[in-house]
């Protein structure tokens, strides 16, 4: 199967879940694994972009979470889509999640939470889910994570003082943990700077780099 071949698809729904952050749902044409990505565009003349699926393996539709890039080529057009409109989507591919017996920590900032939502909705469990953001509305799918993981889900809030949130960035949270587990798998997703910082910090705290898997936005 050519990962880059784009199949015609249709929009099921589009919802703005926070300022300039949208969930786009579309027909499920193929089965997929949690953590996989698709290439997607709404017009064959616009280069497709890579998005992590945020829907679960058993969901009846596929879903992505995206950030409106004002001045960008694709996302300003995606936010104008209506149910039934044409999309072009590749076969899901990639393998972020490696089902292994080891426990997992999931660490994300911003829309980097998308693959972890897919994992959660697919029945995978993490010992800790760290989500970093600056504003309350940027903790996407917060209710779902709270319901599924309770206190294992930690919102690292770097600006506002929301009751129950950890005050600080995800790196501050990791620094605050006295004994970091070394023999588990750490999954990181977000902007490259966050991923690099967290990875360096984990390595400095004695986590073998072989236990760190990263997905970077590009």
């Amino acid at each position: 199967m050519d990962d880059q071949f784009l199949f015609s698809n249709n929009v099921i729904g589009l919802k703005e879940i926070a300022n300039e952050k949208y969930c786009l749902t579309f027909k499920k044409q193929f089965g997929y694994k949690a953590g996989q990505v698709v290439q997607l565009t709404c017009n064959r003349s616009i280069e497709p972009r890579l998005y992590s699926l945020c829907s679960g393996e058993f969901d009846q539709q596929m879903e992505i979470l995206f950030d409106l890039k004002l001045g960008g080529e694709l996302t300003p057009k995606l936010v104008e889509l209506n149910p039934g409109d044409r999309l072009y989507v590749s076969h899901p591919y990639g393998q972020f999640l490696r089902p292994t017996p080891e426990k997992m920590w999931w660490i994300a900032t911003g829309t980097g939470i998308a693959p972890f939502r897919s994992m959660m909705r697919s029945g995978y469990e993490a010992d800790k889910i760290l989500h970093g953001a600056r504003l309350e509305e940027q903790f996407y799918f917060s209710d779902e994570f709270k319901t599924a993981f309770g206190e294992k889900y930690v919102r690292c809030n770097s600006s506002t003082n929301e009751v129950g949130d950890f005050q600080g960035r995800v790196t501050n949270y990791i620094e605050s943990v006295k004994s970091l587990p070394k023999d588990i798998k750490y999954y990181l997703c977000g902007r490259s700077m966050m991923v690099v910082e967290v990875r360096d910090l984990l390595i400095a705290r004695g986590v073998p780099f072989e236990n760190i898997l990263s997905e970077i936005f590009f």
Binding site: D3, L50, S192, R199, E215, F218
Partner: protein, 372 residues
């Protein structure tokens, strides 16, 4: 110990640069005019049409920009005064001199350039007998987050324009003697492919610098859609950052592996019809005890079986906080021989400019970028 020395020395360089920069703001192009340097002939034709100038003016401008060493529109003396005035209203040539040059004991030079947006990039010039190779940057920083690379540690700070890419060649002392260009500086060229292709168009066109594409190598970690486009739209050589043939190791070194596995990158390359002159190489940084074992030799032979290519073994230059180690010279030579015995043409790339942090994987303007 080596890392401590690195930190202190690098810090020292940043302080020096910061001090020097206080007097260098005039070198940072803050003009609101649009630079002409870096425009292709077709873009110049559009500009000329928009300004209602004669069509042939585009070729004249291209000739001034790329065949003559002018730095201002006023120097384009075969254009009428009126034409130069019209052009100057909205446009400038847009060249930018290096703001700092460091020279290695081995003759390698590292140039620091300011971008139009007040950020900084590095360029390495590597002399070797008759060859002058220039290693250009294609982005400010990098998004790819490879575990072994200093540039990745500064994150992504912006794309370079084609003009800013070529400026790194045009404005160095060795400009007239350049024999080879490698896109192996800061950034991932295939993540800025439009501007990289534009720069190559200018470098290789008759109306531009008329260089042979065989003297240009673009290195990538293997973003497959861009690789496909690059292979079709350019005739330049390609270098793919491989670093280990094993999927479960590569994904720990290079997050891109999760989206574009090396098996699929090689499969894409196999499906493309390379001619006899276009060179394909694989870059392989050798990490002691990690990717230099007999199992790696065997797997590389399987992965690259039948792919006409060359493997470049690169000595690892440790960066702060890295969990990876250098391999020893004896093992490096053995590894090379073992690969050659398997029929994989393999050489060891000389490390150059290590004392000025111009060597592979060491380019970074993090301290400068955040100050700027």
């Amino acid at each position: 110990m080596f890392l401590n020395e690195y930190n202190e020395s690098q810090e020292y360089n940043y302080i020096k640069i910061k001090c020097e920069m206080t007097n260098l703001s005039s070198n940072i192009s803050k003009t609101e005019k649009t630079p002409l340097f870096g425009k292709t002939l077709s873009e110049l034709s559009e500009i000329v049409a928009e300004l209602k100038l004669p069509g042939f003016t585009a070729k004249q401008i291209a000739s001034w920009l790329y065949n003559k060493e002018i730095e201002s529109i006023d120097e384009m003396t075969n254009l009428s005064k009126k034409t130069r005035e019209i052009l100057s209203e909205k446009y400038c040539v847009g060249l930018s001199k290096p703001v700092k040059v460091q020279v290695s004991t081995d003759g390698t030079k590292k140039y620091l350039f300011a971008t139009q947006h007040g950020k900084y990039i590095e360029t390495a010039m590597i002399p070797d007998k008759e060859r002058i190779t220039v290693c250009v940057s294609s982005q400010v920083g990098c998004k790819m987050g490879c575990l072994f690379c200093m540039t990745g540690k500064q994150g992504f700070n912006g794309q370079l324009t084609s003009g800013e890419i070529i400026n790194q060649l045009r404005m160095i002392d060795e400009f007239k003697s350049i024999t080879n260009i490698v896109y192996m500086g800061m950034g991932e060229p295939f993540d800025n492919l439009d501007q990289v292709l534009k720069s190559i168009n200018i470098l290789t066109s008759d109306w531009g610098y008329a260089m042979s594409p065989r003297r240009i190598t673009v290195s990538s970690i293997g973003i497959i859609p861009s690789l496909k486009r690059f292979l079709v739209e350019s005739n330049c050589n390609v270098a793919i950052s491989l670093h280990t043939p094993f999927e479960n190791e590569r994904e720990k070194l290079m997050p891109v592996q999760l989206a574009y596995p090396i098996e699929k990158v090689v499969a894409e390359i196999r499906s493309f019809d390379f001619d006899n002159q276009r060179k394909l190489s694989f870059e392989y940084i050798v990490f002691g005890g990690f990717n230099d074992t007999p199992a790696h030799v065997k797997e590389l032979a399987r992965l690259l079986n039948g792919v006409k290519s060359h493997i470049n073994l690169i000595r690892f230059h440790p960066i702060p906080g890295t969990p990876l180690n250098k391999t020893n010279e004896k093992r490096l030579l053995e590894f090379k021989e073992e690969l050659n015995k398997k029929g994989l043409l393999t050489t060891i790339r000389a490390s150059r400019g290590q004392d000025i942090y111009a060597a592979c994987g060491l380019l970074s303007t993090k301290g400068i970028t955040t100050e700027a």
